[in-house]
Amino acid sequence: MTQHSRRRLLFGGAAVGAGVLLAGCTSNEQATPTEAQTKAAEGGGNAEPGKQVTIGFSAPAADHGWIAAITNNAKAQAAAYSDVEFKTVEAGADAAAQRAALSTLISQKPDVIVLLPHDGKELNSFGLEAMQAGIPVVNLDRAFPDAKAYRLQIKGDNYGMGVSAATFIVEQLKAKGVSNPVIAEIAGMDELELTQERTQGFNDTLAQHGFKVANRRAARFTVDSGQQETSQLLQALPKIDAIWNHDDDQGIGVLAAISQANRNEFFMVGGAGSKKAMEDIQADNTVLKATVTYSPSMASSAISLARLIGQERGMSDLVELQVPKEIILASETITKENASNYLKLGF
């Protein structure tokens, strides 16, 4: 028994020591890209402080850099206005949890609600309820099917991303004079509508030029799935001319797989517009030559517009006295030439 207890003591001591050591290893320097992504509240017009507005905000707590940037941007933009009070509620793990959280938000009577729903269809009824209660709803990125469920809808253009990526690839290949190119695609989660729209835009645009995708793998928006799917895609296609990867976050894994396989005969286009991707494009030392945006800066814009809605003001550059009902952001193409302009929008 003494041997046993001594062993146990040793093990216990080691465990405690390791625990103390590890606790020191959790710190991360806080990446705060948010300041650059907010629109400074200066100059004339709409930036002038107006009526005090309370904005309620809800977005899913996902494990993805893009969603994290959405929440950070919204917070930072709200903080930039002296006349905005920002109330955020946790959206929980699914649509039901978000609905529950939002109903507590309604009872606090905010002037405007900005939300990125888990699922636009499932939270449509919440949009209707809030609008009927006289609280304007700003839908961020995941559309409600019912037009009465929102005052403003602001979202990215998934189909347009595919179009932009394909357009860049076609331009490059035509400039190089490649007649029968091998084009590959690394998609995100295939069960999501946004992935299907991106692929549709990509395929449609390629088809207009007589090109098509030779092989396509769907990853899961995670770095490891990006690496694994790409490693297999590279096996399938010994020679490639161009790759479109839907998501820059999983793109870290995609680029890792490409360098591990020592492949560089092709160029790659990314998607979303992460800071890392923009830096890689600017440095021009990987196969990544461009990325098409789907920027989380839309959260900052949503807060600005929610404030204007709350203050019953219009967008100063438009003639109309009220904010429009629908805004779809263009998917822009970032290349080495313009990367420095976009770097501040990277997440």
Binding site: N28, G65, D190, R220, D249
Partner: protein
Amino acid sequence: MSDSPPTTKLPAQSPPVDPAETEVAGHKASAGTARLSWWHGDGGDGARRNLALIGVLLILFVIGAATRSDLYSNPDWVWANMLSILKLASVVGVVTVGMTFVIIGGGIDLSVGAIVALAGVWCTTVATQSFGAAGMIFTAIVVGMAVGLVNGTLIAYGRLVPFIATLAMLVAARGLAAEISDKQTQISQNSTINGIASNSLLGIPLLVYILAAVVIAGWVLLNRTTFGRRTVAVGGNPEAARLAGINVKLHTVLLYVLSGLCCGIAAIMLTAQATSAQAAMANLYELDAIAAVIIGGTLLSGGRGTIVGSLLGVIIFATITNLFAINGLSTEAQNMVKGGIIVAAVLIQQVQFGSLSQFFRRNNRLTTS
């Protein structure tokens, strides 16, 4: 391929147990069943099953060669492709070795994917990376083992059902990983760590060596040591094992620590492959590992299993992924085929071990003490 577990006789330290005695000690489980019948009569079966799995691999190879003869006609490509399959299998393979021990020991570990993510995230924080490659490896392994220790303690001493304890850990460990990483992707700046995935020795990737080392260590541990025999005994009949003088609780804890250790090693490998880590990575690895263990011939109810079978299971799944990729087929179809293979493997097991009713009786045993 002498991978057959020590099934023909009882482990050295456990004397033969009277079935009547276990019946008294046991509870709820079907009374009157000769619970120890599985000890006897299937010697050499593991080897036979492994041969069948190798047969499946050969069939998959032939299908690949037939559908993409243009690629398979190049021997260099075939070799590179086999290495790519092994690299694809390496991370899940290491996790599966730990899972095999846990399942043979009568438990289940649903938290392996979450442990890999947590260990990966923890070892790539800015603070950990400042300690260099050794610090990162140490952190990943200690985190993995610590989580395993919590799992094992909850199960053995807290008397929680393994399914529930590790399910809770799955959720909690991913939550902690998201907290530590602040939901951001953490890029590994360490070239030594990243080199684990990109470097080769004598033409074979380092990842494949790591997989081989873990598999060999696992095989020796299971088949040539007291620890292995105790694992089989604890999983086969915990009450009998206890009566035979085995500290079942402590052994259960050690099994989960072992699984955590494997997850820590896998976390390093996965981080090296992706050159980064995030809370969402290693998604559903628990299911991949359990599926590989099952088609490898390990009984989900414990008491019998083989490391080589599990390894072959992982390689079969990786080969299917590869086969679908080189033919440009969709991931959905691939998942359906994987599901079909799991069902087929279990059905074959049932046929091999006699009637369906016997199969269920065999499953109808205690899984924890």
